[in-house]
Structure formats: C-alpha cells, structure tokens
Symmetry: C2
Subunit: 437 residues, 2 copies
C-alpha cells in the first residue's frame, strides 16, 4: 500500500492543517458502530497489514506532482507532504481477538495530518478483513468438528482480497486453502482436488481418475459430480479397487445437488466397498447456515470447501465501521449526532469472565480488578513493537476468545452480543462534552 491509498479530502485537509501548524497529537478511534446483521461478535483482523502500511507510509515524487495538479495543492503543500512519515503510536485489539460494537479495533495517536492521511487505508483494511474473518468464524462454529478449506479465490473482490481471505480463514481454524499464492506466502496447507475440465478433457471419468491417482498418489480426491454424482462415486470405487488403493488412500468431492442425501448415499457406497476411511468433501455455495443444517443432520461429510459466500461475506459484506477523532491537542472530542455518536478520548477495553459485560473505559483509567485488557500497544513512534503478530498467535487468541464467548453470542441467528458497559469516568466525560454542545 502507498500513501495515495487515501481520499483526496484527507490530503487536502492534511495540507490545510500543515499550513496552519495544526500538528498537535490527535487520537483517532477505529470501531464498529453496530455489528452487521446476525453477528454476535467481530473477529479483529487486518492489523498486520495496517502496521506494514504505516511503516512504509510516504508519498512518492510522481504521486505528489499529480496531486498538485489534480488536488489543487500549492508547491509548499507538496513539499510538506513529501517529508511526511508516520511516526505515531498505535494501540489495537490483536488479530484473532473478539470485539463488539463501540470497542476500538485500533487507535492511532499521531500529529493530526498524519493521522488524517492514514484513515482511509486503515478503515478499508480493518473493515474488510474483520468482516470476512467474522464470516469465517461463523462457518467454523457451524461446521462442528469437520475440516474447513478456503475455496474463495475465484470470487473475492480482486486477488489481493483472496490472499487476505485465505489468511483470516486460517486464523479462525480453517485447515487450509486452495489458493496457491496464499499457501506460499503464509505457509498454509494446500488442499486441492481436480477440475471438471480435467475430467471432461479425458471424456471418461474412470480414465481421468486413473490418471490422477497415478500422477498425484499423495492426495487423491476424485471429483465425482461432472455428470451424475453417484455414478461418479461408483467410478471412483472401481478405480480405487482396480489400482489397489488402500482404505484411506483417496476421497471424493462433489458440489451440486442435494448435498445431504448425496453424502449419505456416497458414504453407503464407499462403506459397502470396504472404503470406510475414504473421505467425503463437499463444496458449492456453502455458508454458515447451510453448514449448520448439514451438521445438525449429521451429514457424513469430512471436509467442506467454502468459497463464494465466505469470500465476500455475502449476507453482510460491509461492516459499519468509523475512524473518528476522539482527542486533539489534549482536548477530548465527542460527537453527538444521532446514529453517529462517538465517545471521547483514547480507550481501553476490559474483559472479564464469560457471561460478564466488557467494560469500555478511558485508556488512562486504573484497570479494574479481575479483568484483562483487550487493547495493547502495537506500534511506538512509527515502529511496530515486537511480537503478537504471528498467525499462530492470532489463532491461539481466537481459540481462547471463542471458548470465552457465551453461547448466546455464538448463535448464528439472532445472537445476543456481549454487552459493553461504559465506565463511569468515560460516561462523565462524554456527558460533560455533550452538555457543552
């Protein structure tokens, strides 16, 4: 990401602030005003990409020339922007943490122009990745103990999105991904079958299966739904027998039709042939609701490939996030516009036992007893602090928070999110500023 990944109004107002020496420290808070429909929680995600963006933040020379022409900036503005780096502090809910409405996912404290300029990119990154991580976490909850594989790459919103999706899926417990680039970049497990076009090019299912089992004996997953699924399963069994594949040495996948019925019939065919360990993988338009239906029906499915609806969070593609100024030059700032209320000041979230509400407090309040803070400092003076950014750590954090999450907030439909109680000092400060409004 580069510094031009911003909105022009941020550039112009930053230039305006630079002209006027309005460069005192500003704190912006990035949070969800509301959880998306049917969501009982959000999974924090996107932080690692945000930190990389902030560390590399700068305008290139050509970009600034362009901005002078298109953005109505003076040469002095261009000179001032050219020297700009991000040297602020960041506190955040580390990736994998669960958060709720009004709780900051991330807070930036930096000279006002810097903090304004980075807002668009931070909002974009955190909103997108948290939205999809949350969708993926719901799939995880719905799938019982079955294996989940990210199949989203063909329909995410661009290919960078596909890479981010593969990573956040791994964060919430997916076993792997089909996407080659993400496998290589994040060390994820590659999980793969064959294409319909492979089967079709052979013109004969058994010929295609024999060739594949010969060429890739380490992971044989026959795609059986090119024509008739159960006929495809029988073909797979015949090939496995003819080739002497061991039980457990292959599996079958299908993506169309009545998935529950087909899985039951497939299991029967495989078991009757003595392949009781042959795995059944299912894909095709799955989401958490369909996974829950199949899980409840005890469908004999070992692995799910989840794609289209996951990768765009189809039922709730945006999350209503905000990046709001909450303090400038030591002056706390609140917003009281209906529907866009913003609580003032840098914050901390305190988490207690499962079932207790979270406490949303001012960052400098004394920590209440028996609580753990959710936000921690992740960047100081423009440099990320060590640790806490590895994918396996995010995964552990998600598992811990998922155990803590009350059942009522885990529900896929009509969940009750964990309540967020505003601390007395924060409430008093907000009311005091509201009274002056």
């Amino acid at each position: 990401m580069t510094a031009t990944q911003t909105d022009l109004y941020a550039v112009r107002t930053a230039a305006g602030c630079l002209r006027r020496g309005m460069t005192e420290p500003a704190t912006f808070s990035l949070f969800a005003r509301r959880l998306p429909p049917q969501r009982g929680f959000l999974v924090s995600a996107g932080l690692v990409d945000c930190l990389g963006f902030l560390e590399g933040f700068r305008f290139e020379e050509g970009e600034l020339t362009g901005l002078r022409e298109s953005g109505g900036l003076a040469q002095s503005d261009v000179d001032a922007l050219a020297g700009l780096r991000f040297d602020g502090d960041v506190w955040a809910a580390p990736e994998g943490c669960l958060v709720f409405a009004d709780e900051p996912l991330l807070e930036v404290t930096a000279p006002l122009p810097q903090a304004q300029l980075v807002g668009t990119a931070l909002l974009n990154t955190v909103s997108f990745q948290a939205t999809v991580a949350t969708k993926a976490a719901r799939c995880r909850i719905a799938a019982g103990g079955a294996e989940l594989v990210d199949f989203a790459a063909r329909r995410t919103h661009g290919f960078d999105a596909a890479t981010a999706v593969a990573r956040v899926c791994a964060m919430v417990g997916f076993a792997g991904t089909s996407q080659v680039g993400a496998v290589q970049r994040f060390g994820l497990a590659p999980l793969s079958t064959m294409t319909h076009s492979y089967v079709q090019a052979f013109g004969d299912e058994q010929a295609a299966f024999r060739a594949y089992a010969h060429d890739f004996p380490d992971s044989v997953m026959f795609l059986v739904d090119t024509n008739d699924t159960l006929a495809g399963v029988r073909a797979a069994v015949e090939v496995a027998m003819a080739l002497g594949l061991p039980d457990g040495g292959f599996g079958v996948r299908f993506a169309a039709g009545d998935l529950l019925l087909l899985a039951q019939e497939t299991r029967k065919l495989l078991d009757e042939a003595g392949f009781v360990q042959a795995r059944i993988m299912v894909s095709g338009g799955l989401d958490e609701y369909e996974l829950a239906r199949l899980t409840a029906a005890q469908a004999p499915i070992d692995s799910y490939g989840v794609g289209v609806k996951l990768g765009v969070s189809a039922d709730a593609p945006p999350t209503e996030t905000a990046y709001e100024l909450v303090e400038y030059a030591g002056r706390p700032i609140a917003q009281h516009v209906p529907g866009k209320e913003t609580l003032p000041g840098a914050k901390q979230v305190y988490r207690r036992a499962s079932g207790d509400p979270d406490v949303l407090a001012l960052r400098d309040e004394p920590s209440p007893k028996g609580c753990r803070p959710v936000l921690s400092q992740v960047m100081r003076a423009g440099r990320r602090l060590r640790g806490k950014h590895r994918l396996d750590e995010a995964r552990d954090r998600f598992e811990r928070d998922l155990l803590w999450l009350p059942r009522s907030a885990r529900r896929l439909r009509n969940p009750e999110p964990v309540r967020v109680r505003v601390s007395e000092p924060l409430r008093e400060l907000s009311e005091r500023l509201g009274a002056g409004h």
Copy 2:
C-alpha cells in the same frame, strides 16, 4: 497479478495434462449462470485487467520451488510449468457492454493447461468488476441527472478493489472519485470536501470553513453535519457572505439525518441568502434504492457521494459466474448437471433492436441479418489486439447499450432481463451431446 493467483487444483491438473501431452486447444466460456437478485442486466468489466494478466502470465522460479514442495509436483512438472506462457486467443464482450445470463463475458481458446491455469484469475477479475459496475450502473439509472461521485474507498474489500471500483464507476457515468490513487492512474476527476476531523480540530465550524475557503478557493465544499446540519448550513452562509464568495463559489455537504428534509431546508436557507447556485452534495449509506427515492421526491440535491454499499455491491456482492470447458481438441463439450447446465462450443451473441431478444449462437454460425455481434476478438496468440480498451470507449459503449436497454430491464426492482434465444444450430448441438450423456 502473477501466475500463482490460481487454485492449486488448476496447477495440479495442468501439470497432469502436460505430463500426458493433453495440450490440444481448449475453449472455456466465462458467463453468469443467473443474474444476481433484482438485476436486469450485467455490465461487462474487468477485461483490461484480464488482458494484462494474460500477457504477463508466468511462474517465477521461487514460486515453482514452493509449488514442488507444497503441491506434490515432480521436478519435471516444475520444468514444464516454468516455460509456460499464455499464447491463446480471447474473445470478449468489450467493457461497458451490457450482457445477460448465459451470454459469455469472455471466452479463452488456448492449449488446455494454459486455459486451466488462468481460470481462477479471470473469474475473480470479471466477476468482481462486473458486479460492481452493474451496481454503479443501477445508481446511475436511479440518480436521474444528478452528479455521482465514488466515495467507496474506505470500505471496499482491500485497496486494489477500491481502485477498480473507481474505474468501473467512471465507466458508467460517475463524474469522479474521492480516491487519490484512482485519480492519478485513470485520469479521473478528483472530487472532495473536508473531513469531520478537520472541523473538529478547529473546534469551531466557522473558523474551519474560513480556513478551508482561504486555502482551497477553487473547490469549496463545506461539510456542515459535524454537529447540527442546519446550523452548519447557516455557518457556511455566514462565512460565504463574510468572505464575499460569489454565488456558485461554494457548496455544502452532509451525510446524516433525514436527507430529503435536510436538502429541502438547506436549499431554502441557501436561496434566501441569495446563493441560488450553491451546490448541495449528499452522502451516507446511499444505494440505488435510496437514490431513486430521493430522485422521485425531487430532492434538491446536485451531487451524490456513493460509497459503502456501492463498493461491495452490498445487496448482491457475488455474481454466480462460471468458467466452463465448452470444447477440447475440436470436440464440443456440454454439461447437463441440473443447475449447472453449460451449452457447448465457442459462441457469439447477436443483438438486435431494443425490445428484441438477443441470440446466443455458435461463433462460426453465419451472422443473422440486422444484428450486431456483441463479442469481438481482443487477444490473438497471447497479444492483445489494438483498440477498444480505453476507458472513454467503454463509457461510450455503456451509454449506447443503456439507450438500447428496454425500460423493463432497467427497472431497479423485479426487472425483466432481455431474453436470450438459443440459435437452432446451438440447440441442436447441445441436444445431441445431451442425448449421448
């Protein structure tokens, strides 16, 4: 984009085909099986990015080493993949064209392994960009003649997505974008106001407005909803009078509250002060349905900033597209699986007068009289053919097709898409292949 922007199953099946010399020409067709809900058409988009991807297609050495380890490939597979370039042909509905279900957006003819490997990236690019272009076109239809500005960058699915969104919005008639990178890359008009944080940092609306009008006199758009919108409008009027701004020398923007009522009251305040040419810009959670409501109510709004719901196509984020093998080694291939039917052979779409159905035909059928072909060849032997790829050409194409589109297909709710009639030769071929199934 790089060659690793693919699914592992495509790599493995391509490697398998290479081992077996299955490198005859294959034709794949990329089309929507169904239009998304409430859509009466799709706007073709993404083609230019696809052609760039195909021209640059190759595996880098490090990527292939990784694939050998993670993908279960032999060294001979790696060697074969290393030499692979895309040298096929592409036919497509040029960007800006309207297309309907079952009509190809793009068709690739190339040696089978190449055509398999590029499928994931082509599907991703075309599906995403056509989905958002269609959403933006619906906003265009809904807005009457009002100006539209892309404000989506803060909530698209990643920042590459934001850049693509800005471009497809321009394709369907948006006046500009707020996103700096897209302004520079595509020469779009930058349209911008100021941030809430700018107003808040001043602590006083009038002070902020005075400073902004002084610093950026060429495009003064006061953000009036930081506290109370109508009070903000009065503050803007006072500042404009105090500074002696000419009528038409400024505008106001707001994003919260009852937009219709506020627009009416704002217009009244501006007119009473003699600023009858001061522009009113509105944003905040807009989509085509809200735009249609405001247009129908004759809201006095000059310009709309459309963001969150546009950038992710919130009510229909994915389009159900497919990339299917329709011919291999001269043998036409059909698929008759319920819900996944695929018609065989390379195709052409013929368009007639407004109100007539399109004709979906085999590419080598003689062209019917009085029709124009929708698909044209855009790449030959891996090199894009000149022309037809400029943004202004796509814009002209969209305007032409929008005029052609019947009112019943333009409707925002319950539209009737243009019917697609299958030609006799195509129907006969499909039935003949089906009978053999």
